[in-house]
Symmetry: C2
């Protein structure tokens, strides 16, 4: 019998297709392994091609070169200049598209995927996230900051060179506002952070845990919407990403690198997105929200039922996903 499971963090029901569930092995990418060169002459993110992007906003130097480079997105979705203007007339509301849109180039090596970087390099990526998150949050026009990575065509990127992006928007979305309100309601009813509670239950049940480090726990959620999606959640209660300490940042780098490596080795380098879900910076220190990193391998397609009903069908079992990933060498 299939089973509907409720995601208490997002209020979403997911249909776990227990009976027609695929085996973890069925999700291993069948695609031809493409050889990616370590340098590409036309790539705007490769060393020597810095003129192809706007001037850097953060550079981690190395001897005669750089290890991390952050620049404004040349094809920014939001204009970095201009005033915040809001319009409301009748049923129409619009806001000028101003904000922050930057690209974090994660390594000088064109063909070195993030899963195969050294921990020290991933630590530099996390440090860049923190720095640019603080920068974007300090912009008075910005209300919500989203850090995300698109890996592979199914995840929405055509650029091979490993990179992430950060976008600061002048509005808070309904998705985030609803999740904040839901978490606040749980706090008021039960006197606990619902995320801390989920973490406690996952650690007790163990079946969906993929990795534990000093400061983080990676697990497949009980009501995962899609196969092999995972959360990397800090053990310590923190509402906003930038509340993380230096030791925690180093530990997150290690956890993230290992989780990406399990996907890379276990599922043959699947396309994926990840994103950091955090409260807005004007919510620093709130007791009811808890930031985390969400990884979404793009192994299945969203079809009409998902769009129409607002309910996903997961054709795999979260517990089997986790058991499979735990056996992959990190």
């Amino acid at each position: 019998m299939p089973e509907l499971r409720y995601n208490i963090l997002t209020r979403e029901w997911v249909l776990i297709a227990t009976e027609r569930a695929k085996r973890p092995e069925d999700f291993v990418a069948k695609k031809e392994k493409k050889q990616i060169p370590s340098y590409s002459p036309a790539c705007p993110f490769c060393p020597g091609n810095e003129r192809l992007t706007p001037p850097a906003t953060r550079v981690v130097p190395a001897s005669g070169a750089w290890r991390i480079r952050v620049t404004p997105n040349k094809y920014a979705a939001l204009s970095k200049d201009g005033e915040l203007r809001r319009f409301a007339q009748g049923i129409r509301r619009t806001v000028a598209g101003v904000g922050i849109h930057e690209v974090i180039v994660e390594t000088p090596e064109h063909g070195r995927t993030t899963a195969l970087l050294d921990d020290s390099q991933v630590e530099l990526i996390i440090e860049a996230y923190l720095d640019r998150f603080r920068y974007a949050s300090a912009d008075p026009r910005v209300e919500q900051v989203t850090i995300f990575k698109n890996h592979g065509e199914a995840a929405g990127t055509s650029l091979e060179h490993p990179h992430s992006q950060i976008i600061g928007t002048p509005v808070v979305t309904a998705q985030l506002r609803d999740r904040l309100a839901n978490a606040a309601a749980h706090y008021d009813e039960f006197g606990e952070c619902i995320f801390c509670r989920v973490l406690e239950v996952e650690l007790k049940e163990k079946t969906r845990i993929v990795l534990e480090t000093d400061h983080f726990v990676a697990f497949v959620p009980f009501a995962a919407l899609t196969p092999f999606s995972m959360l990397i959640m800090p053990r310590r209660h923190m509402s906003v990403f930038s509340e993380m300490s230096d030791p925690e940042a180093a530990d997150l780098a290690c956890a993230l690198r290992r989780i990406l490596a399990t996907l890379y080795h276990g599922l043959a380098d699947p396309d994926f997105n990840y994103t950091i879900r955090t409260a807005p910076t004007d919510h620093l220190g709130v007791r009811y929200y808890h930031w985390y990193l969400s990884i979404i391998p793009r192994l299945t397609r969203v079809a009409g039922f998902e769009l129409g009903a607002g309910m996903f069908i997961n054709v795999s079992l979260p517990e089997e996903n986790a058991a499979f990933l735990r056996q992959v060498p990190m």
Copy 2:
């Protein structure tokens, strides 16, 4: 300057990338036109292969054959047998995966896409939707009924033979509950159906209208999340799909067929989903909600920003989409 637009029906902000917007012509499918035969020996939906599907639940007969055939989905996402059982313990809530999942085979002709059917055949499809919607809604275990169609691989189907699906789930999703609550709040504040109001404004502004018929209006929403997405909305206020009269059903068939034809001819048969967004049947006659059909061409990919922020970037202009489609012969 890009512009953020607010969808007052869903509370979603969308980023309209005015400056890097693509031209309507850029969305015309480049794919090789595949010849699809009118009959496929292995297709479970072709005449003569009826043994490959469960027994039909509705058949519209023709001389020695059929024009429409509805059957339970052989690979149903929900079990049609079994009791509704709910579990709640600690933070876990699950519901037995029981409900209705049927397939509406839209035509006996394997290769005849819906856009190219006669109006009379599309009318039979809409009649089948109504019949099966009423059937699913009458099941005491079912709380929400979703009718949808997946056309093409990017829309999540691999079966060529034109078909739609209907799923009746034993829960109402947060997506629908939130939209009902939002519409009710608007009604309480302004004393009007927000959908009726949107329709009135669209008809006055005219720039996003694609088609008007006696009983329906098709338009690209002001805050369309993706290129060329459209709503087909009844002019008369009705909260639930099954409140539609016979003349309205015939008119919807005509409107739907023409809108699908504009996509087919204008954008070279793009992959698309459509779905009917309706209040649950226990909301028959409510004053604040208004059902409609939503068409979503699958021309772009959802990436990390959309997943992470809950905000779409539309790389086209709704007004340009509509102007382009108005010029396509229907």
